[in-house]
């Protein structure tokens, strides 16, 4: 069902956890649908210095969260915003069609986290 790359990220997820006092936090999904992703960001000089995630969801949800964090770590926020759910799925070598929609939300969570960060900057 899942590619080897997906299974690798699922079995050994990168960047799991929380960042205490994160600069930005974003969450998407809802438990009724079976998928929730939360992304924590540490931002420095407009770059993602650190990123962590917590995910409740299926194999695809966990693997996409992990993959996303690898993809964007060290990127500028604008570069990170250019990463879409599709980019993440492609980086994983594809996902089963049935999983493309609901379990492939990690980029959305990241974007929410970046918005959260930017919102806080403005209100400072």
């Amino acid at each position: 069902m899942y590619s080897e790359k997906v299974m690798d990220h699922f079995a050994h997820p990168r960047n799991v956890g929380e960042i205490p006092d994160a600069d930005g936090v974003g969450q998407v999904g809802n438990p009724t649908c079976g998928d929730i992703m939360r992304i924590y960001l540490r931002v420095k000089d407009d770059r993602i210095e650190d990123i962590k995630f917590k995910t409740f969801g299926c194999g695809a949800a966990i693997a996409t969260s992990s993959m996303l964090t690898e993809l964007v770590k060290g990127k500028t926020l604008d570069e990170a915003l250019a990463v879409s759910n599709r980019t993440v799925a492609e980086a994983l070598g594809g996902l089963p069609p049935v999983k493309m929609h609901c379990s492939n939300l990690a980029a959305d969570a990241l974007h929410a986290a970046i918005m959260d960060y930017r919102g806080k900057q403005v209100s400072k």
């Binding site: 997820p13 438990p31 079976g34 998928d35 992703m37 409740f56 966990i62 609901c102």
Partner: protein, 390 residues
């Protein structure tokens, strides 16, 4: 790596003795049972022997057993066959919210054909309440279909009592039970419980996949579902799956002989598994009835974790299990059965079904009890749903 198969409600392997009886019909004897020459007559005799064996297991007459391509076809046959044959008598059908999709989707099709269908609720343990059934009956009711035992949570329904409620009101109402998960596992006597129709499937009782049967009580008003040639005394067309039917017959015979022994073994392992999980893992919920349950069924919800990732991690550890119905693992909806039991959707997503079989051992149970708590802990450490302090 130790491989542990605990998904016997999804499918079982073929019992070696079953395969031995099937092989001649895959090798030397190619006969079509409808043919009159020797090969055909031998194949016919084999089919009739299998029919008698299945009948014996159920306390039925051989002529009341019609072979089908599986449990799903038997369910479709019952629902479509009764509804379409009795349309003039009434247009109301009663079933439950926890049926297998083979019944539910047939009922939904019948709604499109103009039938009215009542889907009975169940209590928190998955039991249908007699009062609910009684209230649902109308003068228009032609068919009641209630499963014997649920495939996800293992709850065993009081079919005998439910039949009585229906027949007391109107003996002409046809009662069907999907007994795919119960036949061969717990004792069933069709005369005693008084059902008119009963579905069963080979691959749930160490028979082959692709074969099942519908018990049709003599005199029941039902139309054939698959039409064509005159096989199965015109009840089911199509060249008979001779090796499959022979395999189902042998599986039925073995199930009858070994039932008590198998059930004891399964119940013991089941209790060890249930108690072990409850002891080792917090925030769990046993789904289904605590005692009125299939001997081999264990179904838990683990809060804050999602079922598929649980299954994948178990698979990486060599353990085969399921989350909700195996037949719907392609779906993204939480199990309709758990929702009907009142389990909140997010908890339903975190359900795990472990179904034991004859080859499982105490060591298998211990293996699961070692591996599972670690996996749940790992997933919870990644879950944004875990509240502070858990």
């Amino acid at each position: 790596m130790r491989r542990v198969y605990m998904d016997h409600a999804a499918t079982t392997g073929v019992h070696p003795e079953v395969l031995v009886e099937m092989l001649p019909y895959l090798k030397e004897n190619l006969g079509n049972p409808s043919s009159i020459y020797s090969w055909g007559r031998e194949a016919k005799a084999a089919v009739e022997k299998a029919r008698a064996r299945v009948a014996t297991l159920l306390g039925a007459q051989a002529a009341e057993i019609v072979f089908t391509s599986g449990g799903t076809e038997a369910d479709n046959f019952a629902l479509f066959g009764v509804a379409r044959a009795n349309r003039k008598k009434g247009n109301h059908i009663i079933t439950t919210k926890i049926e297998h999709h083979a019944v539910l989707h047939a009922a939904q099709e019948l709604e499109k054909e103009g039938f009215r269908v009542t889907y009975l609720p169940v209590d928190k343990d998955g039991l249908v309440r007699g009062e609910d059934l009684e209230q649902a009956l109308t003068p228009e009711t032609i068919l009641v279909s209630i499963m014997f035992a649920n495939n996800e949570v293992g709850t065993i329904e009081p079919i005998g009592e439910l039949v009585k409620i229906v027949k007391d009101r109107n003996p002409d109402i046809i009662f069907h039970t999907d007994a795919v998960q119960a036949v061969g596992i717990i004792p069933i006597d069709v005369r005693e419980i008084g059902v008119d129709l009963l579905s069963l499937s080979g691959h749930k009782i160490y028979g082959p996949k692709g074969v099942g049967a519908l018990y049709i009580r003599r005199g029941t008003n039902i139309k054939p579902f698959v039409v064509g040639g005159a096989q199965e005394r015109k009840w089911r067309a199509g060249t008979e799956n001779v090796p499959g039917i022979v395999g189902l017959g042998k599986a039925a015979e073995l199930a009858g002989i070994e039932m008590t022994e198998r059930a004891q073994h399964l119940t013991q392992l089941r209790q060890a598994l249930i108690e072990g999980i409850q002891e080792k893992i917090d925030h769990v919920r046993l789904n289904g009835h605590p005692t009125k349950r299939l001997p081999g069924n264990v179904n838990f919800s683990f809060e804050f974790v999602e079922g598929e990732s649980l299954l994948l991690n178990l698979d990486l550890a060599g353990i085969a299990a399921s989350s909700g119905s195996a037949c719907t693992s392609g779906s993204l909806e939480p199990s309709h059965v758990l929702i009907a039991l009142g389990v909140p959707p997010e908890v339903a997503h975190g359900s795990l079904r472990l179904t034991l079989g004859r080859e499982n051992t105490q060591e298998d149970v211990e293996h699961v009890l070692t591996v599972l708590p670690e996996i749940v802990a790992k997933l919870r450490s990644m879950s944004p749903l875990v509240p502070e302090g858990v």
